[in-house]
Symmetry: C2
Subunit: 507 residues, 2 copies
């Protein structure tokens, strides 16, 4: 495949990439050969205006045709073959098997929404007319859903396929009937272009208005601002850091018209290890937590960053097992040199904190690799040390040693919102687990029992979101069938004849 | 009933009303005898903290017990008897029959949510475990819902019962499992206190933590700010003007943690009268529109404020009928002298606008009464005159005379968001109605065919919301069963034993 280095604006490749930016080979830290054009103000304006022009016709497309379009995108992604895998591996440093798996998930997500559309999309709610009702007749009312309009999507660094160009946000927005203006992540612009080529081919094959998808490349912050503040943009999806997410939120807040902002920003995913579990297998649970932490070099949004338990006769064994497991881990390539530097400096900062003990570090590697770290602290230090409440993006975990269940409850009250939490327990812990579950449920989007938080099922009952900062909108999920609802809104049709009703609402 | 003039803070009547504010008799413009205490900073803090303390226990209450609580509130409101009607009529100027009807609707709304809870509240979505799935086993996942936490509710001036103290926002928040801190409207504090007394009795009778409901009185703007920016407040409901709503939205935007803001702010509810309808009965449709406009002296949020048609041989008859009907209307008492003054000055301002013709005014009355007004303009004036795009709260309507269907489509593109629109048409208009319906659907929360917009059914398929400024969150409705979803959010339970699952999700 040829990489043009250009922006895809409503079907046309646009821009001059000669003096543009390049991605970096995550493994070697060398600049990759392809250059990419920062999108111009005019190109972004054109992308949004063309998306809006395509909106009405695309929103009127039958569910079956939208489903075919989604499946065709998936087929065209597969047709990119090994070139896509090679490019994504180079730009992100993620291993080949992981990228292949993520490609499967990405195509699977497109298929999930295609199924949803083919199976009827949503159930209309009908309330029949009643001419004889007193004191006034009851009109016929039917509840349906409309797409919101043009959606701005921002790609994530840590999932170059499943949360990027044709990832969950794009798939659910297109499924809902919304055109997408996609801002590629500057760390993997080549991967983004390849996937955009696949989408572009699918648009041609399905004879859809090319305005329905544009790809915006760039390292320039003004690009993001132009997208999220554009009056024709009606919703924004974002997965990334709390810092960048809150910059976007602030810009969105300044709009004349409020719009939904779906930002997935950060999560420490607390793990509660109960007394019975420690008695049963302190060493096994410690090793499993380390294995979960090391997945993707700790760069999963559901990585278990904080482990809490009440100290007892088994916690020494837990800590020594965890220490040993961490010590044996190899340093690993991180997504970008910048992410590696931020990670290393956060770990160094934690080492300076009073009341925080460094229990173990993984083996060291080259400078731009990440090295695992395990810390421990107590409740009073956790309470008074704001740095410990922030996500450290990478393979760093913090043990919080608690004196009793009351301290565990207080610890929960101090936590910010999270995507997930796990309770690791046995039947003997049931009463305590219930107390903890009741409290921690209000701090998470997904509550897990005796399983690790890493790995997110793409299915109807999934919720990938949660109280802030896990999500800027805790009423929504970015993974699973319910994600489509982020880009739809209700409309009531009153006394409408079948000729004017959407097909799903006809009697 | 005795009016204390105090704030109800978690079951205790608090504050000194001696130097407080009073409401005004809307009809006579005289100050009513009761005085009310502006809530203090400390009282508001106590209300929110106590609400939050009550949250976990209240959210754990069974659906059946919450349903009983809602029904008991309804019974206690009825038990207030004529005192409530007398007080509400004096404070709002609304006629007795209207207040009796609104009381019925308020009790009905509480019953609707009680039914919803008794019938199972929501359907959990289950995805079964599959141990044998490759490459990884599928965990058991179940999607449920949790209440958000403490909800701040602001009462509306125009519905002293149905959108106020125990109105739709309060009923749906309490149904969802959220404690409510209610800010009474300063125009009807006595009505608010009586309803708060009813809620307080219901809390006692049902043995519920008194923190679950507080009533905050006050005319001081700092009160609203303190409620919406409080870190323990997790959602806000508001019905009122765009001006005040956007002040609240701005304060909410400055919070560290974003929260949902459900503001219903304004709507002109455009009416499209198609050629066939004008041929069939130009005079009848004109008279029906005037009747709809005059309901509640034009102070319904769904009042038909803009009427659009393509000029033809029948529009003269329409305009002369409408002119005659408006001219015969009596001046009427408005909700408050301030609302009447704002209305009168808006009508006076429209009279100064170039390209805007005053077709008719209703008969004049005393100074603080509202007098109906009917204006007409063309597309180019509408396009260039921002004042015509704003809601005039009261019995004022604007005819937009269009040259052809293309102009009607352009007119739609200029409209802001609305709660409703109606298409008045016959079978002969079907093709044109379809074009208009497709476009106007994206500007409204409810699309009506051959019925007037005033009157909102309280049922499962209702949507009372819409694109901004109709609502600050177009994904939600403030009327009907779906309103409960504003105060809930999804949570996925993964691999949880029945002992730790909410009852609705157990297998």
């Amino acid at each position: 495949m040829t990489i043009t280095g250009k922006n895809l604006i409503a079907g046309e490749w646009s821009g001059e990439s000669e003096n543009g930016f390049s991605a970096i080979d995550a493994k070697t830290n060398e600049v990759l050969k392809e250059t990419f054009a920062d999108a111009t103000t005019e190109e972004i304006e054109r992308a949004v205006v063309r998306a809006n022009q395509a909106f009405i016709s695309y929103s009127q497309l039958s569910a079956i045709k939208r489903a075919t379009f989604l499946r065709t995108i998936g087929e065209q992604i597969i047709a990119l073959g090994d070139d896509l895998v090679t490019m994504a591996c180079a730009e992100t440093g993620l291993p080949e098997m992981r990228i292949q798996g993520e490609r499967g998930r990405t195509v699977g997500q497109l298929g999930l929404f295609a199924n949803l559309l083919e199976n009827g999309e949503y159930q209309g709610v009908f309330d029949q007319a009643d001419e004889n009702r007193q004191p006034l007749p009851k009109p016929d009312t039917r509840l349906g859903y409309l797409p919101l309009g043009v959606v701005g999507v921002f790609a994530a660094s840590n999932f170059p396929l499943a949360f990027s160009t044709a990832g969950g946000d794009t798939a659910s927005a297109l499924a809902a009937g919304c055109p997408v203006v996609m801002k590629a992540h500057a760390a993997h612009p080549g991967t983004a272009e390849l996937v955009a080529q696949a989408i572009s081919k699918a648009i041609e094959l399905c004879d859809i208005d090319a305005g329905v998808f544009s790809l915006i490349q760039g390292k320039n912050y003004a690009i993001s601002s132009q997208i999220v503040t554009h009056p024709l943009v009606k919703a924004v999806g974002f997965t990334g850091s709390e810092r960048v997410g809150m910059i976007l939120q602030k810009q969105i807040n300044e709009r004349a018209e409020p719009i939904p902002f779906y930002g997935e920003l950060g999560s420490v995913n607390p793990q509660f290890i109960m007394a019975g579990k420690l008695t049963e297998d302190a060493s096994g649970i410690a090793q499993n937590l380390v294995a979960s932490l090391m997945m993707g070099q700790g760069q999963f949004c559901t990585s278990p960053g904080v482990w809490a338990y009440v100290e007892d006769e088994n916690t020494a064994e837990f800590e020594s097992s965890a220490t040993e497991a961490i010590s044996q881990t190899q340093a690993g390539v991180m997504l970008t040199p910048a992410i590696a530097a931020t990670y290393t400096s956060a770990v160094e900062h934690w080492q300076t904190l009073s009341g925080v003990e460094l229990l173990a570090q993984g083996q060291s590697g080259v400078e731009h690799f990440g090295r695992a770290a395990l810390f421990a602290t107590d409740l009073s230090t956790f309470k008074t040390t704001p740095a410990l409440h922030e996500e450290v993006f990478g393979s760093c975990a913090l043990i919080v040693r608690l004196k009793n269940l009351a301290e565990m409850c207080e610890f929960i009250s101090l936590l910010k919102g999270n995507l997930t939490a796990s309770i690791h327990a046995t039947d003997s812990d049931l009463d305590n687990s219930r107390s903890i579950a009741t409290l921690i449920a209000h701090k998470v989007g997904r509550l897990i029992y005796n399983q690790m938080p890493t790995g997110v099922e793409v299915c109807a009952s999934m919720n990938h979101g949660g109280p802030f900062p896990a999500s800027t909108d805790l009423r929504t999920t970015s993974v699973g069938s319910e994600a489509i609802k982020r880009f739809q809104r209700p409309i009531c049709y009153q006394n409408m004849p079948n000729e004017l009703l959407p097909k799903l609402l006809c009697s």
